[in-house]
Homo-oligomer: 430 residues x 2
Amino acid sequence: MLSALGLARRLAAGELDAAAVIDLCAAAIAEREAEIGAFAMLDIDAARDGATRAAAALAATPLAGLPVGIKDIIDTADLPTEYGSAVYRGHRPRTDAAVVSMVRRAGGLILGKTVTTEFAFRQAAHTRNPVNPAHTPGGSSSGSAAAVAAGMVPIALGTQTGGSVIRPAAYCGVAGFKPSYKLIPTVGVKCFSWHLDTVGLFAADVADVAFAAAAITGRDLRVDGSAPATPRLALLRDHLWPQASAAMQQAVESAARTAANAGARVEELTPPPILEEAWRAHAIIRDYEACRALAFELDRHRDRLSPVLRDLLDAAAAITPEAYDAARRTTRVARRALAELMDDCDALLTPAAPGAAPHGLASTGSPVFNHLWTLMGSPVVNVPGLTDAKGLPLGVQVIGRFGRDRAALEAARFVEGALAPALGNAVAAR
Amino acid sequence: MLSALGLARRLAAGELDAAAVIDLCAAAIAEREAEIGAFAMLDIDAARDGATRAAAALAATPLAGLPVGIKDIIDTADLPTEYGSAVYRGHRPRTDAAVVSMVRRAGGLILGKTVTTEFAFRQAAHTRNPVNPAHTPGGSSSGSAAAVAAGMVPIALGTQTGGSVIRPAAYCGVAGFKPSYKLIPTVGVKCFSWHLDTVGLFAADVADVAFAAAAITGRDLRVDGSAPATPRLALLRDHLWPQASAAMQQAVESAARTAANAGARVEELTPPPILEEAWRAHAIIRDYEACRALAFELDRHRDRLSPVLRDLLDAAAAITPEAYDAARRTTRVARRALAELMDDCDALLTPAAPGAAPHGLASTGSPVFNHLWTLMGSPVVNVPGLTDAKGLPLGVQVIGRFGRDRAALEAARFVEGALAPALGNAVAAR
């Protein structure tokens, strides 16, 4: 994988220039893209032009010309944006999404658009998991996770409405960061559910993804400067815990144990029942809003929607405003309960997914372990590093408090670092 | 003016058909549009085609084929959408905004796009006030308010980020309704500030605007069925009160007195200081978000922005994430304080604007009386009916509790009805 921080340091030291970084990406793409299918659209030449034309100006920016992959649910004025849907074949938006402008302002170069499932919902696309191409990379940010995992790009943008950043990051063994709700604007991102859609990021490890988030948002989110503070963690075995595979349960327990051995305070917390109620409310809010957000597509292009989406939207028409309002009220109560639960705690540890990436490409896997945290608006990080017996990645989900994104990233970095010696990789020493 | 409810009743009774309603609009447009300039784009023929082609199906819908004007900040796939900006000259979105689909599903016919100021900010457009064309209609939903006031259309959609629904409604003497934040989706509405932008409605009087909101959202918002419940009201003389003209102060006081005489409990409330702090936070949130939401326009089309907008966006680049986060925290605290303040109260009464519509078209007037309530996400209604010595409308702003939109509309209808006998109009008897 390409480390964003490692590349940024070599760019700053003059060991590399931005065009050479593009060449690294191009080499990985030439080697693996035909098999993996991470990109919906590539424009390596434009990125290379950008790297050479504005070399001096780029050097002064936070991203210093690092290439970025943009999930194809996010509008770009210079590249087609098809939302993974036949309805938008060849669509060219008039305007860049806000986050695309933020990437450009930070000195990032857009390398291409990464594959999304149809409107970032469930209908799987063709992307394969770089760790084992017989397996799904997860979804809906399939291409972004796979592109980072295959070393094709150091940074990629995704979005999460259910579990579309954390799950593919977990399946592909990369760091994924879903910030607090609205930390990154969704302006120009095709909407599925306005109370849930969240822009997130992928990079090689936690310090890389924090670096990218800091550069793009201009916020104090980096966690690479010094050893992370010792966090107060809690293992959360909620009602979904029995749905996690034995390997996944062991992975989360081992992350908790290893963090404790490294000095973290680790307790076990029992979630109040309102959180399970809120978990159930997620689908009501998502579907009620999708029925309106995608009304034009359903009403005018019904036959060009996948059956799974069409069925969802048809069923959603029966959700009453009263049921929706009740789900929103449950959400508000649950947010307060979660804030109380985490009053003395920096982050929760849970499975990022039920297990490793499922075999085959028919399903992108299950987001049930991610729904609640998207609804709560919590900052969430996938900590990569652990694998199952077959070598497939197992992600640990680190959930912070709303608005405390840096603390969530720092806790995730601590967990990642604690796991590293056991894994023999170099994360802790970075 | 064309009453939406009155027309709906005549349609239901078979006294009119949808094509005849289009003819009423077309006649008013033929008579006044050249002078008023309410529309950015008209397609009367398409609306008439819609009325005749689907007459039977329309009859069964809540809007029964009533014509609707759509502010040109809201995307329409069948009509150009220019956001009042030279940057988007001739722009034709690929997709209808969610609320446009909701209008169509409800059986509304899109008559045209109404004039907006540039990106719904301050740069005035050419629309004139139908009550007195030497005066501004207000902004940014200039065309929607003017089109309803001139009897060109019974229902029009607007948006409010500062005071862009309530102020033009007040200046033009029509009912304006800014629902609770996110009650109507902003998907497909050009974004200025994602925490503030709110879709609202204009119609002839409060019962009409409630009818339209109910039809479009599918919610129980109508207040025309029976006499409105007697509300608990509060007159709020906050720090802005001295900025209201003497005539405006008298209008609000007279509305309070008249409502009390009609049986309402009317008290006086003193706002806690946090509300004034929140009022100041509005601009920080708006500008920080606009700097990102309009990043593409600023970075790529700088020279085609108005100086007032360019200056705002340039200055906004200096707002730090810390200042923005502090403004958001102030907002959350203020929302709780407002909920407590209104614990025993259905609605507050304040001026809808500093006074009547200013003379001339250079300025769209001041939204200072509206900023706080947009930030609080409160449902707000402009109650029309009162006028100053020159016959220019003076609006009374009725502010409800978040999520209690029906109660806000009912309180507004009560105030409107209480004022009606004094005014000698027929509102109370409708």
